[in-house]
């Protein structure tokens, strides 16, 4: 078991490809994007099935990698987040198969 860092980035669905490109550029070897169903932030609630434009939909991007790359990725994401509504959190996790990261 090896210690890695896990980024969890909650961001607008429309902007997720931008964030993904940043993760790739920062050298992360993989990520997975999960759809959200509903949420609340800044005093506003949203719900996927009540908005056909998808303009308020959010997704959660999970990416696991070693400390250095994650640090790298976070710096880039920080600037992206300047204009977007996302929330990002990082935690330490243990993983199998170190060679994959």
């Amino acid at each position: 078991m090896h210690t890695k860092h896990r980024i969890e980035l909650i961001i607008e669905r429309m902007a997720y490809k931008r964030a993904c490109r940043l993760l790739e550029a920062a050298g992360m070897t993989g990520y997975t994007v999960l759809p959200a169903l509903a949420g609340f932030g800044g005093g506003n609630r949203w719900q996927r099935d009540s908005d056909i434009s998808m303009a308020r939909d959010m997704v959660v991007i999970v990416s696991i990698g070693d400390e250095e790359r994650v640090q790298n990725a976070i710096e880039q994401i920080e600037s992206l987040l300047g204009s977007h509504v996302g929330v990002v959190n990082i935690s330490e996790v243990r993983v199998l198969r170190d060679e994959r990261f």
């Binding site: 931008r18 099935d49 009540s50 908005d51 056909i52 998808m54 303009a55």
Partner: protein, 324 residues
């Protein structure tokens, strides 16, 4: 008036009102997003095909070109008017005003369809190329609004590699791809070539529209219920009078155009309608700081219901006045 009654009592509008009432009464029912998006694609295919088939029957004339041009100009110009009005009469920030303005310059294809039905029901005829006008009016408003936003200091937000992404979202979004594509296919295949798909795209159209408008009613009602608090009275008012201003300006233009009554009614409706699918998505990419709770509540919660119930009969009446 007779048109008003027949518009308001058609199943399409009744289902819209049902959805709106259910949402305002806080029913939890919803149409799954995946299903509604599928229906939206169907509707755009059907509209495009119909327009294309009709266009294939007549030669393209200069008159058609003039109406297309008028549509493009309106789409460019209306956001400027909307922006100025919002900045002077409301407390919206520059970026929210610009994003909202983009919605009002662009169009709502469902409003267009509802108007087409009302036009037909009141014994008028509309041309197939009005679908092309609708398609052409989708995009210029976005460009126009971005220029308005960028004259402010948010300019950095659309720099660099993101411009390509934004261009594709604006020029190749689902509405435009499907509408323009189906229009071309209808044109190429013609009446005979599309005969086999007619039962699906023509026969089912009205019924699918009922289902879609039920969902639109739910969305509009929910948007209104969640969002009205974040709008000032001036902003709410804008949602009601802006379509009338747009239609009025278009009426003036129609007086100078060689356009039929039916087409004039549709052009006014296009100008008066506000986007709630393509433009919000584009704004999320281009102006992420703008608040969806402002522009979506206005376009979907106020202007859309206004147009499909009261607006369309007004525009048809106005068309009788200005065109012939």
């Amino acid at each position: 008036m007779d048109i008003v009654a027949s518009t308001l009592l058609s199943p399409i509008i009744l289902f819209f009102m049902l959805g709106m009432a259910a949402a305002l009464l806080r029913s939890q029912m919803s149409v799954p997003e995946a299903f509604a998006k599928g229906l939206a694609i169907y509707l755009m295919m059907a509209i495009g095909l119909k327009g294309g088939v009709e266009m294939s029957k007549n030669p393209l004339t200069i008159e058609v070109g003039l109406v297309l041009l008028a549509g493009a100009v309106l789409s460019f110009a209306l956001p400027v008017i909307a922006f100025v009005l919002l900045r002077f009469t409301t407390k919206l920030e520059r970026i929210d005003a610009a994003a909202t303005a983009a919605h009002y310059g662009s169009i709502s294809i469902v409003t267009f369809v509802a108007a087409s039905e009302a036009v037909r029901a009141s014994g008028l005829v509309a041309s197939g190329h009005m679908v092309a006008v609708a398609a052409i009016m989708e995009t210029p408003a976005i460009v126009s609004a971005l220029l308005l936003a960028l004259t402010g200091k948010q300019a950095k937000s659309i720099a660099g590699a993101e411009r390509g992404e934004l261009f594709r979202e604006v020029a190749l979004n689902a509405s435009i791809v499907v509408l323009v594509g189906a229009l071309a296919i209808g044109w190429i295949a013609g009446e005979e070539g599309t005969q086999q798909v007619e039962p699906f795209f023509v026969g089912m159209f009205q019924g699918v529209l009922c289902l879609f408008l039920l969902d639109m009613g739910l969305n509009a009602g929910r948007g209104l219920r969640n969002g009205w608090r974040s709008l000032g009275i001036g902003t709410v008012g804008f949602g009601f009078y802006m379509p009338l201003i747009s239609a009025g300006i278009t009426a003036l233009i129609c007086m100078a155009l060689p356009i039929s009554v039916g087409d004039a009614a549709l052009l006014m409706t296009l100008a008066a309608s506000a986007s709630y699918i393509a433009v919000p998505a584009a704004m999320r990419l281009a102006l992420p700081e703008a608040k969806p709770s402002v522009y979506l509540t206005l376009s979907l919660g106020i202007t859309f219901p206004f147009n499909v119930t009261i607006g369309i009969p007004i525009y048809i009446w106005l068309a009788h006045v200005v065109a012939n």
